[in-house]
C-alpha cells in the first residue's frame, strides 16, 4: 500500500542530506510507527511522502500511485494529520469536514453517517457548528483527525498525533487506528511515545540523522530485554556518535577549504557537494 524507495531529500543550500536513501514498504492491515530523535528527518520524510515538499531522488507509491508522476491520484489515497494541525479558524468544524468531503467527492449520505460517527467517537458533536477559532488545543486536534478520516483513506498518516490530546481522546485515536488497520488499511505515524508504540503497533521504522537505522517487528523487540526503548536508544546513540564524527569531519574539511578559498566560497562548495550527493552525481557513502 505504501512503498518508499531510496528517498533522498536535501533542502536547497543545505550542507547535509535531510533524508538519505530511505526505503520501506508497509502493507495493508499494519500499524507502523516512525521513530527518531528530534531533527532525525521524520517530518521531512513524511512531508516528502505526502507531496508537501518535493524530493530529489527516489520513488513513493501510494496504492500504486506515484506521488511525483500522479500526485492527484496518490493524494486521493491518504489522509494526513500534520504536527502543527493548523486549521481554517474562521470555518466551523462542520464546514471544514464538509469541505474536505467535497474535495474527496464523498456523497451526502456517506459523509453524514461518517461525520456523525466520528464526531461522536471524538466527543465533538456539540462543537461541530462552532468556529474552529474558539476550539481548545485538543478540540482542534480532534477536528483535524475527523477531517482526514472523512474519505476513509487507504493510508492514514499522522505526525505526532497524540500530543495535546486528553487520555479519553488518545484512547479513541488508538481504537480508531486498530479499527482502520483491521479493515485492511495502513496506519503510519511518527511518535516519541515509545510505550504507546510498543503497545499499539505491529512495526516500527527507526531513523537517525536522515538514515534508516532499523525496521523492527514490535512483537520481537518486546520479547528482548529493555524492549523497544532499549533497542531504539541503542540504535540512535550509535548512529548519533557516528553522525557527530561525520559533522566534525565536515567542519574540518570546510576549515581547510576556507583556508584556501575563503569562508564564503568554502561554505558554498560544501553545500554544492551535499547537493551533488543528493542528486547522485557523486557517491554519498
Amino acid at each position: 500500500m505504501l512503498k518508499v524507495r531510496n528517498l533522498v531529500k536535501i533542502y536547497p543550500g543545505a550542507k547535509r542530506i535531510a533524508a538519505n536513501n530511505i526505503s520501506f514498504d508497509i502493507e495493508g492491515g499494519e500499524i507502523c510507527a516512525f521513530l527518531g530523535m528530534n531533527g532525525a528527518g521524520k517530518s521531512t520524510t513524511i512531508k516528502s511522502i505526502t507531496g508537501i515538499i518535493p524530493f530529489n531522488r527516489g520513488q513513493v507509491l501510494l496504492n500504486g500511485y506515484d506521488i511525483q508522476q500522479d500526485p492527484l491520484g496518490a493524494k486521493s489515497q491518504f489522509g494526513f494529520v500534520p504536527d502543527n494541525y493548523k486549521l481554517y479558524e474562521k470555518l466551523t468544524g462542520n464546514e471544514l469536514v464538509n469541505y474536505t468531503a467535497d474535495i474527496y467527492k464523498i456523497d451526502s449520505a456517506t459523509r453524514k453517517e461518517r461525520i456523525g460517527r466520528l464526531a461522536e467517537m471524538f466527543k465533538l458533536t456539540k462543537a461541530m457548528n462552532q468556529q474552529i477559532g474558539s476550539y481548545s488545543h485538543g478540540m482542534k486536534q480532534k477536528i483535524c483527525l475527523i477531517s482526514t478520516l472523512i474519505h476513509n483513506p487507504s493510508v492514514w498518516m499522522l505526525d505526532e498525533p497524540m500530543v495535546g490530546l486528553d487520555p479519553q481522546s488518545i484512547r479513541a485515536v488508538k481504537d480508531y487506528m486498530v479499527e482502520h488497520a483491521k479493515s485492511g488499511k495502513v496506519v503510519f505515524f511518527s511518535s516519541h511515545a515509545l510505550d504507546t508504540v510498543a503497545g499499539l503497533c505491529d512495526r516500527a521504522i527507526i531513523i537517525g540523522a536522515g538514515k534508516k537505522l532499523g525496521d523492527v517487528k514490535i512483537a520481537d523487540v518486546n520479547k528482548q530485554e529493555g524492549g523497544l526503548e532499549r533497542h531504539f536508544l541503542d540504535l540512535v546513540n550509535k548512529a548519533d556518535a557516528e553522525y557527530q564524527a561525520f559533522l566534525r569531519q565536515l567542519e574540518h574539511e570546510e576549515q581547510e577549504l576556507a583556508a584556501k578559498h575563503g569562508k564564503a566560497k568554502a561554505s558554498a562548495m560544501m553545500a554544492k557537494r551535499a547537493q551533488d550527493m543528493a542528486l547522485g552525481k557523486i557517491s554519498n557513502d
Partner: protein, 575 residues
C-alpha cells in the same frame, strides 16, 4: 520604576518593529526608504497646505448679520479649526486599533501576568507607550504644518513671535488628549456591542463598508461642490458668501477653535485656555482608561467567545467549487481580509463617477467662459475627460488587486492542507485569482455604467464617454487588473509569508502587495498623463499604445503564472 521603564522600552520596540538582532544595514535601509517616502508625501502635503494657506490669508469684506456692520476678515482661524479637527479624526483612527490592542486584546498581557509585575506598572507602561506613539504621530502630521505656517506667515508680513515657536512642543504633547479620550470612551460601547452581536465579522464588514463608502462620498461630494463653486464664482466671492456658515460651524468645535486661537494669537490667555481644558480632558481620559483596563484585566484571559453558526446539511458540491466557497468564507469572516477584498471594489465605481463629474464640471467651465457649446468639444478635451476616468479607475483598482498578492500567504500554516489536496496547484491558484478578479470586473462594469449615464448639473449635461471609449476603458482596466493580480500571485508564490501570525501581520509583512500597488500606480500615472496632456503633446495613437501595453503586461504575467505556478507552489513551505 526600572520595571516600568523596561516595559515601556519593550512595548515601543515591539510597536515600531525595532529588532537589533536582524540584518542591521537592511533595517537601516528600510527605515531610510520609509523616511524618504514619508517625507515625499509630506512635502506634497505641505506644499498644498502652503498654497491653500496663502490663498485663504487674503481678506474680504462681510456683513455681520447681528448688527449689520461691515467687517474685513479672513478665514484663517476657521481653516485652522478644521485642520485640528481633521487631525484629531485622523489621530483617532490611528489610535483606536492601538488602544484596542493594548487595553483589550494585548497579546503580551497573558505572558506579563505570569511575571512579577503589578497591574499598575503594566498600565502605566501601556499608557505611556500609547501616548509616545501618539506624540510621534502628531509630530509627523502637525509639525510640518506648524513650521510651514510660521515661516510663510513671516514672509507674508505677519509677525510670528518666540511664543509661537515655544508653544509647538506643548501643542504636540497635548494634541493627542482629545482623540485618546474619544478612543477610550468608544471602547466601552464596542465591548458591550461585541458581547451581544453573534456574527462579529458581519458587523465589522458592514462597518468598514459604510465607513469606507461614506467617507468617499462625503469627500468627493465636498470636492466637487467646492470645485464647482470656485470655478463658477471665484474663491474670494465664495469665501465672502459662505463666511458665516463656515464661521458658525467652526465655532461649534470650540475645543479645536481653542487650538486655532492658541496658534494664531499665541498669547498667554489663549494658551492657558487650551492648556487648562486639555488637562481636564486628560484627567477624564485617564480615569476612563484605568476603569476600562481594570475591567479587562479582571476578565478571564483564557475565556474565548464561542461563535455558533447555522448548520447546513452536507450537500455534495464539486471540489473546485468547495475550494472557492472555503476561500470566500475565510476572507469575509476576517475583518482585515474582507476590508481589503471588498471595500476598494465597492468604492471604485463611486470614485470613478465623482471624478468624472469633477472633470465634466471643469470642462463645462472652459466652455462657458469661451462661449462655445458642447458640440464643439475638441478631441483633446474629450481625451482629458477620458484620462480622468482612466486615472480614477487605475488609482483604486491596484488597491483591490493587491489582495491577490497575499493569496498564498493567507494560508499560513494551512499551506500543508492545500498541498495534500487532490486538486492541482494550478487550479488552486486560478481559484484564488478568480476570486479577486471577478469582483473587480463587476465593479468596473458598474463604474462604466455610471459614467455612461448623462449627468445634469445646473442646466448643463456633462458629456458622457462614447461606446468605443467605454469598451476601451473596460479593456484597459480589466487587463491591467489581470496583469497585476497575476503579478501579485507570482511574487507571493515565490516568497510567501506563511509564518506571520494573524491577518494584519500577513498584510504588513508581505512585500508582494506593495509591489503590485507600486506598479499599478506607476502605470496609472504613465497612461493617464499623456491623455490629460494631449492638448500640448504631439498627436500619438495613445489609446492603441496604452491598450497594447496592458495586453503585453497582462499576457506576460498570466503566462508566467500559468507555467510556473505548479513549480513555485511545490516549493512553498509553511516554515
Amino acid at each position: 520604576m526600572s520595571t516600568t521603564f523596561t516595559l515601556i522600552k519593550m512595548n515601543i520596540r515591539q510597536s515600531l518593529r525595532i529588532d537589533r538582532a536582524k540584518n542591521k544595514p537592511l533595517t537601516i535601509a528600510k527605515w531610510l526608504l520609509t523616511a524618504v517616502f514619508g517625507l515625499a508625501i509630506l512635502a506634497v502635503f505641505v506644499a498644498m497646505y502652503v498654497l491653500l494657506n496663502l490663498k485663504i490669508s487674503f481678506g474680504f469684506s462681510v456683513t455681520d448679520p447681528s448688527n449689520g456692520e461691515r467687517l474685513y476678515t479672513t478665514i484663517v482661524n476657521e481653516f485652522f479649526t478644521f485642520t485640528f479637527l481633521i487631525f484629531h479624526i485622523l489621530q483617532f483612527l490611528f489610535l483606536l486599533p492601538i488602544l484596542m490592542k493594548h487595553l483589550k486584546i494585548g497579546d503580551d498581557r497573558e505572558i506579563l501576568m505570569r511575571m512579577p509585575i503589578t497591574s499598575r506598572q503594566l498600565l502605566v507602561a501601556k499608557l505611556t507607550t500609547i501616548y509616545i506613539l501618539e506624540i510621534l504621530f502628531a509630530a509627523f502630521v502637525l509639525l510640518p504644518i506648524l513650521i510651514a505656517f510660521g515661516v510663510f506667515s513671516n514672509f507674508s508680513g505677519s509677525h510670528i513671535g518666540a511664543l509661537y515657536w515655544g508653544m509647538i512642543p506643548i501643542l504636540l504633547i497635548i494634541a493627542p488628549i482629545f482623540p485618546f479620550l474619544m478612543g477610550v470612551l468608544l471602547l466601552f460601547p464596542i465591548n458591550i456591542m461585541s458581547n451581544f452581536i453573534k456574527s462579529r465579522h458581519k458587523l465589522m464588514l458592514g462597518t468598514y463598508l459604510v465607513l469606507g463608502i461614506g467617507t468617499v462620498i462625503v469627500y468627493m461630494f465636498a470636492l466637487s461642490k467646492a470645485s464647482f463653486l470656485i470655478l463658477n464664482k471665484g474663491l474670494k466671492d465664495q469665501m465672502a458668501e459662505n463666511y458665516w456658515t463656515v464661521h458658525n460651524w467652526a465655532s461649534a468645535f470650540f475645543y479645536h477653535k481653542m487650538f486655532a486661537n492658541a496658534v494664531l494669537d499665541a498669547n498667554p490667555l489663549s494658551l492657558g485656555a487650551m492648556f487648562g481644558s486639555s488637562i481636564v480632558l486628560a484627567g477624564i481620559a485617564l480615569l476612563v482608561a484605568i476603569k476600562l483596563y481594570k475591567y479587562y484585566y479582571n476578565q478571564d484571559v483564557s475565556k474565548t467567545k464561542t461563535v455558533k453558526l447555522a448548520s447546513k446539511e452536507g450537500v455534495m458540491v464539486k471540489p473546485q467549487t468547495s475550494y472557492l466557497i472555503k476561500e470566500f468564507k475565510t476572507i469575509v469572516r476576517s475583518s482585515n481580509y474582507s476590508f481589503q477584498f471588498l471595500v476598494f471594489v465597492v468604492i471604485m465605481p463611486i470614485v470613478v463617477l465623482m471624478c468624472s463629474r469633477l472633470a465634466g464640471i471643469s470642462t463645462l467651465e472652459t466652455f462657458k467662459s469661451s462661449g462655445s457649446n458642447l458640440s464643439d468639444l475638441t478631441g483633446a478635451q474629450r481625451s482629458m475627460m477620458l484620462g480622468v476616468s482612466l486615472l480614477s479607475f487605475l488609482i483604486i483598482m491596484p488597491l483591490a488587486s493587491s489582495f491577490a498578492a497575499i493569496g498564498i500567504s493567507r494560508e499560513g500554516g494551512n499551506i500543508y492542507a492545500c498541498k495534500v489536496l487532490p486538486i492541482k496547484y494550478r487550479h488552486q491558484v486560478l481559484i484564488k485569482m478568480l476570486l479577486c478578479f471577478v469582483p473587480i470586473v463587476v465593479s468596473t462594469i458598474i463604474g462604466l455604467g455610471l459614467i455612461r449615464i448623462p449627468q445634469k448639473i445646473i442646466n448643463f449635461t456633462i458629456p458622457k464617454v462614447s461606446w468605443s471609449e467605454t469598451l476601451w476603458l473596460f479593456y484597459v482596466v480589466v487587463s491591467m487588473a489581470l496583469g497585476l493580480i497575476c503579478m501579485g500571485m507570482l511574487l507571493d508564490l515565490k516568497k510567501p509569508v506563511c509564518k506571520a501570525v494573524g491577518s494584519g501581520e500577513i498584510t504588513k509583512t508581505n512585500k508582494a502587495a506593495g509591489a503590485v500597488l507600486l506598479v499599478g500606480l506607476i502605470f496609472a500615472m504613465l497612461s493617464s498623463t499623456p491623455l490629460l496632456l494631449q492638448q500640448i503633446l504631439p498627436r500619438l495613437p495613445l489609446k492603441i499604445i496604452i491598450a497594447g501595453l496592458t495586453t503585453a503586461f497582462a499576457g506576460t504575467m498570466f503566462a508566467l503564472l500559468w507555467f510556473f505556478c505548479e513549480k513555485l507552489f511545490a516549493r512553498v513551505e509553511a516554515g
